[in-house]
């Protein structure tokens, strides 16, 4: 990771985020207004896409179906979440079975293989607009930089969102024999900020 090319401070004290066991502090603070070339921004994007398309992220980044997926090395063949689960329009399963019925709220980490992953917040799907499962790099990039479809966020806002959402933190420390998302949370945040400073370039412009 070309962290040295990214003008993102890694030295600021941790924010007020609640950290799960084993987590380390991250920061989204900028040092000064730097410039990041489009080429470096596209390199950062390619790493962001590796993260966004990884099963730890994409399995719960599904569209309006509200049906999470089971995919990746620990699941064998790709298939919808077992038990006929759908999170509904609420995205938390309120219409059927709440995600939190099985994905309980805990600070105790994840050690048991095949048990439902848990963090210290209620489990939920990403918004339907952030429909990443099976999508191309261009499709995800276009969504993520479109304020109409990304919750009105700047790249800085996206980085801060990453800093504060414990379900996202879980992707890098999933436990239970699950493969973590690539790179690290801090590297991913740095990539998002670099991509933003480069003007949020996408592969096809």
């Amino acid at each position: 990771m070309k962290a040295k090319t990214l003008a993102v401070a890694a030295l600021i004290a941790a924010t007020a985020t609640t950290w799960a066991a084993g987590e380390t502090a991250t920061t989204t603070a900028e040092t000064e207004a730097p410039s990041v070339s489009v080429a470096d921004g596209l390199e950062a994007w390619s790493r962001i896409y590796e993260v966004a398309s990884h099963p730890r992220c994409s399995n719960c980044h599904v569209g309006e179906s509200g049906i999470p997926m089971w995919s990746g090395p620990s699941y064998g063949k790709t298939r919808p979440h077992g038990m006929n689960i759908a999170a509904g329009e609420s995205r938390i399963g309120a219409e059927f079975v709440t995600c939190a019925t099985c994905h309980t709220r805990s600070t105790q980490g994840n050690t048991v293989a095949h048990a439902a992953p848990r963090v210290d917040m209620d489990w939920q799907l990403a918004p339907a607009q952030a429909d990443w499962f099976g999508r191309t790099s261009q499709e995800i990039c276009s969504q993520l930089r479109d304020p109409e479809r990304n919750g009105g966020r700047t790249a800085q806002d996206i980085a801060e969102h990453l800093d504060h959402d414990l379900i996202l933190h879980w992707a890098w420390d999933p436990g239970g024999g699950r493969e973590p998302a690539p790179y690290s949370l801090q590297e991913h945040i740095a990539d998002v900020m670099a991509w933003g400073m480069a003007g949020m370039p996408c592969p096809n412009g």
Partner: protein
Amino acid sequence: MQIMVNGTTHEVDVEEDMPLLWVLRDELGITGPKYGCGIAQCGACTVHVDGVAVRSCQLAAGDVDGEVTTIEGLGTPDALHAVQEAWIEHQVAQCGYCQSGQIMAAASFLETNPEPTDDDIDRAMSANLCRCGTYPRIREAVRSAATKLMEA
């Protein structure tokens, strides 16, 4: 630690990571919730925490944040919960191993979705396995209970 179950506060001396199901069954002798799979795939251990269905095999004792209700506390023999009444009316149970989890799941489901379609019922109750295959009767009972609760 202290834990409130079915209206009674209990002092239990257990590890923080002991599953609630173990606390209920082995420490408190409350055996309505059943052990099936231990990994949230069968629903036999379902209880309520503050009225919401939770798989007690997945909830650590140290993470319990609210009042626990098991099948023993859902209704009484003289005043059954509408779902329990419907279970008897439709003679749902065959072997009965899954039914406390089924009933607790259904009671919680009807709190948040009081007028479910059959598809909603199937979707919600699919997370509770019945090895006897009583699913058609489960659907009928949940539909009946929904009607009763709406009329109440």
